[in-house]
């Protein structure tokens, strides 16, 4: 890009957005760009590269956070957040370049789609939002006992927080446990404490198998409805599968 120094070094970080923003801050100050950025747990060392670990510094990361928000645009900050939730391997280096370029070019960055990494960030964002929108519909909440609801999901991207927000707004009075089984993450919400939620990692054997009596009744009613609402003369499993790919079926009450 801009005539900054291209380092041969790989930067490792803790896998958080603040960690990536810390790196962005350092790069901005030293006018240099690493050859790659990798989450430390995923890094397999190799005696040909040099890798250094950059420690997350909340002071630095909030400078980037505020800088994007105040001097570039709200959308640009959010594009970084959404793209960061992606499961794509090389997302970090593209987001980094996008941030640095955004500080140079301002809000018009988001129209510069001929630049590879800008287009890439836009694609990641779209992909993440697409999956999260889909799961807003395709997640089933089951009542474990009075007013405590549980749902398991298997998303490609890390959308648990986006989904959690959505459910809290919609069901502020329901206690909720969302379970990302691909990442072993739990999103916890207690309706007594409506301004708060937590995301923690779950024990790998965490499982729910007991439901309230009312729950079983409603599951049966839902299955009945699902069966009866489709028109026999129009049966078209291919089309059904196209809109609702098989990978979602494991979490859908009506298809179990």
């Amino acid at each position: 890009m801009f005539n900054w120094k291209l380092l041969k070094t790989i930067y490792l970080y803790d896998g958080t957005l603040n960690g990536l923003f810390t790196i962005a801050f350092d790069c901005y100050i030293f006018k240099s760009i690493p050859s790659n950025i990798i989450f430390e747990d995923n890094y397999i060392s190799n005696f040909l590269d040099t890798a250094i670990y950059i420690k997350t510094d909340n002071e630095k990361s909030s400078r980037i956070w505020n800088g994007l928000y105040n001097n570039v645009s709200y959308d640009t900050l959010y594009n970084c957040y959404y793209a960061f939730l992606s499961c794509q391997k090389n997302k970090e280096i593209n987001i980094l370049k996008y941030i640095l370029k955004a500080f140079i070019d301002g809000p018009k960055i988001n129209t510069m789609l001929h630049i590879d990494y800008v287009l890439e960030v836009m694609k990641l964002r779209k992909n993440v939002l697409h999956e999260s929108h889909r799961l807003k519909g395709l997640t089933r909440l089951s009542e474990i006992n009075k007013n405590l609801f549980y749902a398991s999901i298997h998303p490609d991207n890390n959308v648990i927080e986006l989904l959690g927000h959505f459910f809290i707004k919609r069901f502020p009075l329901q206690n909720l446990i969302l379970h990302d089984k691909n990442r072993n993450l739990l999103f916890l919400y207690n309706s007594q404490n409506p301004n708060n939620y937590e995301i923690i990692s779950s024990p790998s054997n965490f499982n729910i198998s007991n439901y309230s009596i009312e729950e079983i009744e409603f599951q049966n009613l839902w299955k009945t409805f699902f069966k009866n609402i489709s028109i026999k003369e129009r049966t078209n499993p291919r089309l059904q599968m196209q809109y609702m790919p098989k990978k979602y079926w494991q979490n859908l009450t009506e298809l179990k």
Binding site: K108, T111, M112, L113, H114, L119, K126, L129, H130, H133, R134, K136, G137, L138, T139, R140, L141, S142, E143, F149, A151, F167, K169, R170, F171, P172, L173, Q174, P194, E214, E215, F218, N220, L221, W222, T224, F225, F226, N228, I229, S230, I231, K232, E233, R234, T235, N236, P237, R238, L239, Q240, Q242, Y243, M244, L252, T253, E254
Partner: protein
């Protein structure tokens, strides 16, 4: 009769309604309530017929005093009958909604005792939902032909969307097949709702002017707002002899004069035997699909019905979609130069949808586009390549602009992409178009 049996009968009887959209409302939740609207709508599942399931679509009752010939619930059919109580409807809706099965309720009904009596039952159910359960999710109610204006008014203040089904595309067909319903029964409530909606607009502008002084008028406005997600209608295709031209002209005038949000087309399924009705082995799904494609062109692509069809060719081409067909008949308007063409002309290029056209306009501000760039932007060139140039150049291997060559190639594409089985749906339209945010979502959700 237990609730399970009632649900079985009354969802089965409701399934012929094509609409299941939950878009167009951004109703907010309250801190002690349940539910909110999502402006672009959310699909929760897809049935075995590939249609999206977004709302709990049920009838209040299927006991009908009328005898519409095409309808499964007609008085003279021997089918099991059931009626929900208003509370059963409300409890079922909340139970489903809490578990995130649905975006809300689509309540319709056969006519029991009288139109007003039926509408009152519906209002009771919805009032329980809104006032007792504090439900702010989506509600779509169908109006019962012949019910009074006061009741329509009450209903309209409670729900997000209303529909008045036009049922059949001409007055003659209506007389023949739905002898108990008059054209007036349909047009009156429709134009009443449409006038009220215009009022909405006026209300909104006065309240938003006042917004700086206090918040309360806005809240008040939300309470008073009448069917915020607008009204829709539906007609049955293939039970009566109207041409495609007649049908899309009707839709066009409904969009223009009644400000409808959507017209739904429902391929006729032969359920009843009657001398006035055709016997079809299969519902005319391809025809339904073509009508949806054309409808899309009317609403989002700036086409007029008269451009798409004419008296000499009053029906759509079975082999080519309406946009390709139009382009080939108007080949003198092509090729279009990507770096210069107006937005409205870009939209007329086969294969270029709303999203692609917008992207092209944005991107070409900072640099001049070639075919490689278009691909990167995600513009699908499969069809478009025959109709465009980039900086005066044709797509590779296309050396000149030759209509019969284009025709052959498009037909070949179409053959390859037309699935052998009846894989048509109103939903597949989303492939290359993303109309206004409010109408629908990308998410290629196919949510209507």
């Amino acid at each position: 009769m237990d609730i399970q049996e009632k649900l079985e009968i009354l969802s089965d009887a409701a399934k012929y309604d094509a609409s299941c959209s939950s878009s167009g409302s951004n109703r907010k939740n309250s801190s002690n309530g349940i539910g909110n609207g999502d402006i672009s709508g959310i699909c929760h599942s897809w049935g075995a017929d590939g249609r999206c399931i977004s709302l709990l679509k049920i009838l209040m009752t299927n006991c009908c005093m009328y005898d519409c010939k095409y309808c499964i619930n007609r008085r003279t059919n021997a089918v099991p009958r059931a009626t929900f109580t208003p509370r059963e409807i409300a409890d079922l809706t909340i139970g489903f909604y809490k578990r995130n099965y649905i975006e809300g309720l689509f309540l319709s009904s056969a006519v029991i005792k009288s139109a007003d009596y039926t509408t009152e039952l519906m209002i009771q159910a919805i009032t329980i939902l809104r006032n007792e359960y504090n439900f702010h999710g989506y509600i779509h109610a169908k109006t019962i032909p012949g019910s009074s204006q006061e009741l329509i008014d009450q209903l309209g203040k409670l729900v997000d969307r209303m529909s008045v089904n036009i049922e059949l595309p001409s007055n003659d067909s209506l007389k023949l097949l739905a002898p108990d319903k008059s054209k007036l029964d349909i047009v009156k409530p429709m134009s009443y709702i449409s006038n009220k909606l215009e009022n909405n607009q006026r209300l909104l502008s006065t309240f938003s002017k006042k917004r700086n002084f206090s918040l309360s008028p806005v809240t008040k406005y939300q309470k008073e707002k009448f069917v915020p997600a607008g009204q829709t209608t539906q007609m049955i295709i293939g039970a009566t002899p109207e041409t495609d031209l007649k049908i899309i002209k009707l839709s066009e005038s409904l969009y223009n004069t009644m400000k409808l949000k959507r017209v739904y087309y429902s391929a006729y399924v032969s359920i009843n035997k009657d001398s006035c009705l055709p016997t079809l082995d299969k519902p005319p799904l391809l025809r339904e699909n073509r009508l949806y494609q054309a409808d899309w062109l009317l609403r989002f692509y700036g086409f007029h019905a008269d451009e798409l069809l004419e008296e000499k060719h009053p029906n759509f081409n079975t082999f080519l979609d309406p946009k390709c067909d139009w382009a080939l008949r108007n080949i003198d308007k092509f090729p279009v130069e990507i770096n210069k063409a107006s937005y409205s002309m870009l939209l007329r290029v086969p294969g270029i949808g709303v999203i692609s056209a917008k992207r092209i306009i944005t991107a070409r501000r900072s640099f001049s586009l070639n075919f490689e760039n278009l691909k990167k932007l995600g513009v699908v060139l499969k069809r478009a390549r025959y109709f465009i140039t980039c900086n005066g150049k044709y797509f590779d291997k296309i050396s000149s602009f030759n209509p019969s060559f284009i025709n052959e190639n498009l037909l070949m594409l179409e053959k390859r992409s037309t699935p052998s089985k009846n894989n048509y749906s109103q939903l597949s339209l989303f492939e290359n178009s993303l109309p206004t945010k409010g109408d629908v979502i990308k998410c290629l959700t196919g949510n209507f």
